[in-house]
């Protein structure tokens, strides 16, 4: 059993290599290998349900042990990683068929498995070096997944990798600082050292590590890579990025907040606001700002994947907001939302990917009316958006409910208001998505569109079912979460299979009631509806246009600038663009580097010679002055 953690970690990497080699044989060998190995990983992962290993040494470096560990929380994240990866790989088989270049596809599957492996490594890591190593591997392997040709994707990938590197190096400094103090980077040792070191040191560590995680989790001031990267990545990669990769940032935050420095410790070294340590409170505010601003941005998008990307920023805001509350309910809500967001956002990205696969465009105003052509995809997307908007009885609601209750209990009302507003805003953009793609007028070029092949449907169905199940039976996930959180010193929260009884919260939740009543009333209304005379189906061109005859040539559809009037309301907010600020500074740095730094190499030999003489003179002068110059 002890070896199996390493096996679990190694499986995707070995699988990736084998897949690549298999691609040389035949494309089906490659596809089957890819699916098999991700399935194998999922299987191995499922063995660890409810198990805990506290340290499985797999090597050592510079006198620090490298450790793999697992507990229910890591299991939760492993579940996200492995299951979504599997579904993505299954989805890719058909979706990536159009790519002619074999080697590109071979390496595509290899990279997919590598990213999966790297993320497993991050989650399993029991020390910071392992963590950081796999973190970096994840960054650059996912970079190759994002970039796939074309100017835009190259720019997006470039931005992604540069920001990832910056974030990673911020973590690096923190890790090195810890190492210089502790000489060991195993989590318990680090926690011990942090508990004994000065507050300033600890705060610096949190800030530096936090920057790294914020970049990956795309929390607001560091989010600018995400919309580009997620929208430009190939459609099967976007769910992996959005559903899983940014969750690694959330996992990292969880680890530093509650693994490396327990909440009590944080309270001791920092002043508290609303019984939250001030740093966590700031994190909460950043998360809340992410929620609101990203929601506003998502509302104004014209590109389906970009819209979803911004909504990812907003949803990850909920995860971080929940994680940073510090109460059992909030943290559990955050973790649960991480799982839920992985499920429904992957579902949405896959559905949009399916649409792109059939129509070749992701511009919302070019689409419309596809519900008649792609009903299955429509159902998947609708389930996804309902979950995303947090409407009961699907899973997004439960986790949001938990976060709201936690915030309400702590009386952090302003954050709660922002979270709520973001959620209402979600109605706007999710409706925009489903309306512009599936509802409205079917354009003539999409007359012959069919629903996607079965291999692409299967992942969507799995996710739809998961969305419903986790929505109605939140207890399934809470089993894992509560058990895991007990290890991190959280008080257990009362829950049952269907929700939360009154007592631990200010209210109570029983999703099955909502679901069943909704179902019953729906059926009753439907039967009532059927009692009356049957409706006759009319074509979309037989439509009210004040008596005007609608012809197919006329684009009789309202899709571009759907929320233009709302845009006028929030225009003042967009005058400040974080990206523009970054660009300004980068440009300034570039100009400085270009005109003031590299121009020392003038190409003029005399200048070069005088440099030499100057150095000699200064050095000699320094020596003759008795070394007083320094």
């Amino acid at each position: 059993m002890n070896m199996s953690l390493e096996l679990l970690l190694a499986t995707p990497f070995i699988g990736g290599l084998l897949t690549y080699i298999g691609g040389k044989v035949h494309r089906w060998v490659r596809n089957i290998f890819a699916v098999l190995f991700s399935l194998l990983t999922l299987g191995e992962m499922s063995l660890f349900y409810n198990t805990t290993f506290k340290g499985d040494v797999w090597g050592s470096l510079f006198g620090s042990k490298l450790i793999l560990q697992t507990n229910p929380i890591t299991w939760l994240f492993l579940l996200i990683v492995t299951s979504i990866s599997l579904l993505v790989i299954v989805f890719s088989v058909d979706d990536m068929k159009h790519e002619e270049d074999h080697i590109v596809l071979d390496s595509y599957y290899m990279q997919l498995l590598f990213v999966e492996g790297a993320m497993i490594g991050i989650v399993l890591a029991g020390d910071l070096i392992t963590f950081f190593m796999f973190w970096e591997i994840m960054s650059w392997t996912s970079y190759f997944l994002i970039v796939h040709g074309g100017k835009k994707s190259m720019d997006a990938g470039y931005k992604y990798i540069i920001m990832s590197i910056i974030g990673a190096y911020a973590m690096f400094v923190a890790i090195a600082m810890i190492y210089s103090k502790a000489h060991s980077l195993v989590y318990p040792d680090v926690a011990l050292v942090l508990s004994q070191s000065s507050p300033t040191f600890t705060i610096w560590i949190i800030i530096l590590l936090g920057v790294g995680f914020f970049v990956k989790a795309a929390v607001m001031p560091l989010h600018t890579w995400l919309p580009d990267a997620h929208s430009e990545a190939p459609s099967p990669v976007s769910p992996l990025l959005s559903g899983v990769l940014i969750k690694m940032g959330a996992y990292g935050l969880f680890i530093i907040f509650y693994g490396l420095m327990s909440a009590n410790l944080a309270k001791n070294i920092m002043p508290s606001i609303f019984s939250t340590p001030v740093l966590l409170y700031i994190v909460q505010w950043l998360a809340a700002l992410s929620i609101v601003l990203a929601t506003f941005l998502a509302i104004m998008q014209e590109d389906a994947k970009r819209l979803l990307a911004y909504s990812s920023i907003s949803q990850i805001g909920y995860v971080v907001l929940g994680l940073a509350t510090g109460t059992s309910l909030g943290v559990a809500g955050g973790l649960f939302h991480a799982l839920n967001h992985a499920i429904f956002k992957s579902l949405l990205f896959l559905a949009v990917g399916a649409v792109i696969y059939r129509t070749g465009t992701r511009n919302l105003s070019d689409l419309g009316g596809l519900v008649k052509k792609m009903p299955f995809t429509f159902v998947a997307l609708v389930v996804g958006i309902i979950a995303l908007a947090g409407v009961p009885p699907l899973n997004g609601f439960v986790s949001k409910w938990m976060i709201y209750e936690a915030l309400l209990q702590k009386k952090e009302v302003f954050l709660l208001i922002m979270a709520f507003v973001g959620s209402t805003g979600a109605f706007l953009y999710v409706y925009r998505l489903v309306h512009s793609i599936f509802l409205g007028q079917l354009s003539q070029k999409h007359e012959n569109v069919k629903d996607v092949p079965i291999l692409m449907q299967i992942p969507m169905w799995v996710l739809v079912i998961a969305t419903v199940i986790y929505g109605i039976f939140p207890g399934l996930a809470m089993d894992v979460i509560v058990k895991g959180m007990k290890m991190f010193g959280f008080a257990p929260i009362a829950y049952n299979l269907y929700g939360f009884p009154q007592g631990s919260t200010m209210g109570a939740l029983k999703v099955i009631n909502i679901a069943s009543v909704l179902m019953i009333s729906f059926v009753v209304a439907w039967i009532f509806f059927l009692l009356f005379s049957k409706s006759r189906k009319v074509s979309q061109y037989d439509n009210y246009a004040a008596g005007q005859v609608v012809t197919p040539e006329l684009k009789y559809n309202y899709s571009f600038g759907f929320y233009m009037s709302f845009g006028r309301v929030i225009k003042p907010i967009f005058k400040i663009s974080i990206e523009r600020i970054y660009n300004y500074w980068v440009d300034a740095a570039k100009i400085f580097g270009d005109y003031y730094m590299r121009r020392v190499y003038t190409g003029n030999l005399e200048t070069y010679n005088s440099y030499i003489v100057i150095v000699v003179t200064i050095a000699a002068a320094a020596v003759l002055l008795g070394g007083k110059i320094w």
Binding site: T602, G603, N604, L605, E606, S610
Partner: protein, 113 residues
């Protein structure tokens, strides 16, 4: 002492030529002047006033009155190196003139930044 002064003067003149002069040939002259200065310096380190050649040809020569032989050996080596360098440099100058049609160092700066 005069040797030291002379050698440093030579080096200084050489460096001056290297830094200030525009003509490639003058720069080379400067280089060589500096090298000569260095050689003079080396030799003068081993120099002893009224010293003898460091050869034990005859018995009864006071070793302490001998000129230190090592600097001389060093000088020889250095001279060889300088000479080869100069030869190479002159070859470069010829080629440069062919390519650029000028010997002005200010104009030979196609590689920069």
């Amino acid at each position: 002492m005069i040797y030291y002064l002379g050698s440093f003067l030579l080096i200084a003149i050489g460096l001056y030529a290297i830094i200030i002069k525009k003509n490639l040939i003058k720069i080379l002259i400067g280089l060589n002047l500096a090298a000569s200065g260095v050689n003079l310096l080396i030799v003068s380190i081993g120099y002893i006033k009224n010293g003898t050649a460091p050869i034990f040809s005859k018995i009864g020569i006071n070793p302490s009155a001998m000129v230190d032989p090592i600097p001389q050996a060093l000088t020889l080596t250095a001279i060889v190196i300088d000479a080869s360098e100069l030869a190479l440099a002159v070859a470069f100058v010829v080629l440069l003139y062919r390519h650029y049609g000028t010997l002005d160092i200010k104009k030979i700066r196609s590689l920069k930044w």
